[in-house]
């Protein structure tokens, strides 16, 4: 029982990171019907941006300060938001009218570009992320959690709540929902579709950056190819929850993180990368549009 709770706690912390990445996937997909393969690499850039910001400000190590950590988090989110906007403007906008596969290959190209540029700029060998907050272990009824894991969960929850408030309560959020529902009709209603798409990319990329910084806290080894596997799994999480659905992405991400830790804890860590897909296939066979996805009837 103790061990089960322990694995659950680890899984939830790890799952929040998947959920943050999955949110970006699901938002971009909801609006452009594009699987943004480069999203996992934005997460990598987010981690590296924070790494260099921390070195620049001499944060971590001897003088950990929560305020500085917060500033670094926001700085990295800003950098990645700009990167996401640039990526959309230079690579995705020119192919928006082409077939979806063309857009997908473009996304793959962007992803490879970011990875190789990362190797060139940051070096291929792993870097050690500075400890922005002094690590401490806390026992919650026998379950050991670190303050890093708690930070991860709290920051993720805050970001997710503000995202859903933004989407549900603001005018821009309403416009995003409209564009996602029907882009052409939204455009006819006077919604500036291009600006909404830009904003979507900015928010999605900022969330990925946050995930990258949080991962740097808990698993402090970062390298330019770190985004590939989490990227794929976060996409799977988004599909699992029903792609295009914001709560679906969160549930999908948490489910994925928890199941991975359960497999590592009770089976074998070599099966870790497969379990996500097994769950996915089982869910999709029962609910073809994911847990929270709407089944769209086909029009003739």
């Amino acid at each position: 029982m103790q061990e089960l709770l322990q694995q659950l706690a680890n899984g939830i912390a790890w799952g929040s990171i998947y959920a943050l990445i999955a949110l970006g996937y699901t938002m971009v997909y909801g609006i452009l019907r594009l699987i943004n393969f480069a999203h996992g690499d934005i997460y990598m850039v987010g981690a590296f941006a924070a790494y260099y910001l921390a070195r620049l400000t001499n944060a971590g190590g001897a003088n950990p300060s929560p305020a500085l950590a917060l500033a670094i988090l926001l700085g990295s989110m800003l950098i990645c938001a700009l990167l996401g906007v640039a990526m959309e403007y230079f690579a995705y906008r020119p192919v928006r009218k082409s077939s979806r596969l063309t857009a997908l290959i473009t996304a793959i190209g962007v992803s490879l570009f970011l990875e190789n540029l990362g190797i060139r700029l940051f070096g291929a060998d792993p870097k050690f992320f500075p400890q922005l907050i002094a690590p401490r272990s806390i026992s919650l009824g026998g379950v050991m959690v670190t303050n890093h894991q708690i930070t991860v969960v709290i920051v993720s929850v805050l970001l997710m709540v503000s995202l859903s408030l933004f989407i549900q309560r603001t005018r821009t959020g309403k416009a995003m929902r409209a564009v996602s529902f029907n882009r052409d009709a939204a455009s006819l209603m006077g919604i500036p579709v291009n600006r909404i798409i830009t904003i979507t990319f900015a928010i999605g990329s900022a969330l990925a950056a946050a995930a990258g910084v949080l991962v740097g806290l808990t698993n402090p080894k970062i390298e330019p190819l770190m985004g590939i596997m989490p990227g794929v799994k976060a996409f799977v999480a988004a599909v699992l929850g029903g792609i295009g659905s914001v709560p679906g992405a969160v549930i999908g991400g948490l489910l994925m993180g928890v199941s991975e830790y359960l497999v590592v804890g009770y089976l074998s860590s070599t099966y870790r990368d497969a379990i996500a897909f097994v769950i996915l296939i089982l869910v999709l066979l029962v609910k073809p549009a994911g847990l929270f996805g709407r089944n769209i009837a086909e029009k003739v």
Binding site: I105, I108, L112, T270, A274, L280, L284, E298
Partner: protein, 335 residues
């Protein structure tokens, strides 16, 4: 009767011609080029087989599979296991590579790899009854990864150490010969009654259904056939170079998709072109050293922006059209 037998004779003659041509090509290539170029030619041939077979699913039938490397892995490991464990008992092979006696177990191994891979293709094709579009895509991706992780956990085929001790049977002759056979088979399939059904599904699945095309059955068949050839390509791969599951990650599947899309969806000759270009490009860019993969990915993005339908679009390169165009260019000959 006469027609059928003459077809058979023609088919056999063509087969012998392909085999002979491949053999001569191999001999010539071994003489002319250095081992480095020879190796690239072999890998290029493998990629051509993979791209053409994936094109049947993604280009011709209009489905979206991103798990092709999984089928390749199945073929690679099944045929390698056959060669290592079963073949020595079934055939008392002591003869050396290159003789006809050694070719039989190899053909059998390749065929078996393709067959088991086709069964896997059937299993992956089944969900296409309920899923479409991106959901189907992600399931194929999932199957590919599950296959890879499963193989990684089988100790008899090396697991995480990689599968060592596989005799090297593949050479350019085998790869080129099988690539030609794959091309002929797929081209004839696409031009046949069944091929038209596949194209109809791509254009409009509901309309095809309404016209009496059993779309589910055809989609599953497309997966099975594509998986068979990917399995054969995998078998060729495992008898050529070091075998490890790392060769079959989803990046490999992506690589093959890029070849198909770059060449032009639904165009078999386009797949050949795409596979050749993308195999050669990183080698050509070697002068740029560390920057070559950056240039490669940039080129990919630029190509997709400049020519979104791929290099050939859905057209095919055909001798007839080339001859026609050459004639038209000659002044006076056009009339």
């Amino acid at each position: 009767m006469l027609r059928r037998s003459s077809h058979l004779v023609r088919g056999l003659a063509a087969f012998v011609a392909v085999a002979l041509g491949a053999w001569i090509l191999d001999g010539a290539a071994a003489q002319v080029v250095n081992p480095y170029v020879y190796r690239i030619l072999v890998l290029c041939g493998l990629n051509i087989i993979l791209a053409m077979s994936l094109n049947l699913v993604n280009g011709v039938t209009g489905q979206f599979s991103i798990g092709h490397a999984g089928f390749m892995a199945v073929g690679a490991y099944v045929s390698a296991a056959f060669t290592v464990y079963a073949a020595p008992r079934l055939f008392a092979v002591t003869s050396e590579t290159g003789t006809v006696a050694a070719a039989l177990p190899f053909v059998l191994a390749l065929f078996l790899g393709g067959l088991v891979s086709a069964v896997a293709g059937f299993l992956v094709g089944l969900p296409s009854m309920r899923l479409r579009g991106d959901y189907l895509a992600i399931v194929t991706l999932g199957f590919g990864e599950i296959i890879r992780v499963a193989i990684l956990n089988i100790d008899a085929v090396g697991g995480a150490r990689g599968f060592a001790g596989i005799p090297q049977r593949t050479n350019l002759a085998w790869v080129a010969g099988i690539a030609v056979l794959t091309f002929v088979f797929l081209r004839n399939l696409v031009r046949s009654y069944h091929g038209r059904a596949l194209l109809a599904i791509r254009e409009d699945e509901i309309a095809a259904e309404a016209l009496g095309v059993p779309s589910t059955r055809y989609k599953v068949w497309a997966f099975v056939i594509a998986a068979f050839f990917a399995g054969v390509a995998g078998g060729l791969f495992s008898h050529y170079t070091y075998l490890h599951t790392n060769s079959f990650t989803f990046m490999k599947s992506i690589e093959v998709i890029v070849m198909v899309v770059l060449g032009g969806m639904g165009s078999l000759t386009g797949s050949i072109l795409g596979a050749s270009i993308l195999t050669a490009l990183p080698e050509v860019l070697r002068f740029a050293n560390a920057d070559r993969l950056i240039i490669y990915s940039l080129l990919l993005v630029i190509l997709m922006i400049a020519r979104p339908q791929g290099i050939l679009g859905s057209r095919e390169i055909s001798w007839g059209r080339i001859v026609q165009r050459l004639r038209r260019k000659r002044p006076g000959a056009a009339a």
